[in-house]
Amino acid sequence: MAEAECPECAGKIALMEGTEVGEIITCADCGCKLEVTAVNPPAVQKAPEVQEDWGE
């Protein structure tokens, strides 16, 4: 299965089944929060920082 690369530590990221584009995942190697930008093939980028106006 194709893997993405963590932009922070270059660790390999395998997406779990059912992962959605836009979902936030955590790099198992460095703990960095990552946003999934594609699932096939998988791609990730650093997750956006939580902004002051984020909430419910």
Binding site: E20, G22, E23, I24, E52, D53, W54, G55, E56
Partner: protein
Amino acid sequence: MRLGLIYTIITPENKLLLSAAQARGVELERISDDSILMDVHRTGDAASFDAVLQRSSSYSRSLYISQYFEEAGTRVVNSYATQRLFGDKASTSFALARAKIRTPRTIVACSPESARAAARELGFPLVIKPPMGSWARMVQRINDNDSLDAAIECREEMGNVWQKIYYLQEFVKKPGRDIRVFVVGNEAICAIYRNSTEKSGWITNTGRGGTASNCPLTPEICELAIAASSKLAGEGIYGVDMMEGPEGLMVHEVNHTTEFRNSIAPTGTDIPGKMIDFLIQHAKR
């Protein structure tokens, strides 16, 4: 029928909503709020949606995008007007007071001096909150003048002008919990106790370490939740926060993009399913 889900990131709630739509055989199109171009003269693709569920994490993006879709004639859940009302704690408090819904005594002030005067009116302890914000961010219990001065100084040094609008509220003595009631349409569908813990301190927000447990719905809770949400702002999807004060239940906040990931298991209620059903029922065609 064309339905959309407007989002900033795909949160666990958004995944549950996508699954609930799929289970009902309807597609919920993903609309990233990163990518929308809002041409004020052209509605573009927005008019072709029958309804959109507004789940942006960002309040400011949410407002503009909702206005854009409503200008195109598309039903937005919750509506732009609802978001304006409940996204601003001061506006919410004014509306609750006007509707004679029991709510903590609250004073809004626009300068450090008037904030101190408000504190003298309320007495200590009190609670200070940003008028806009969520997840208990910058919500502080103020026990005395020294801590009030510290809170004011922090806010005056911040770049965000909304932090300089002072929203001060009486501190309500309550059990170590408050209540979140989920309202869909005109019905309170379930409720949780949000229990404070050692981790969360006096705050009960589950995102800050509070825990969720089932809160049985009573006629009083249901009536109050509906009065504070759909009767004030029209049918929608709400998370109404109440406290058990010394004189009874009181509403202190209404959430217009309520989170629910921790509330499905304790209540046994299919919250995302009920939200999708509401969206389908209120689509324009």
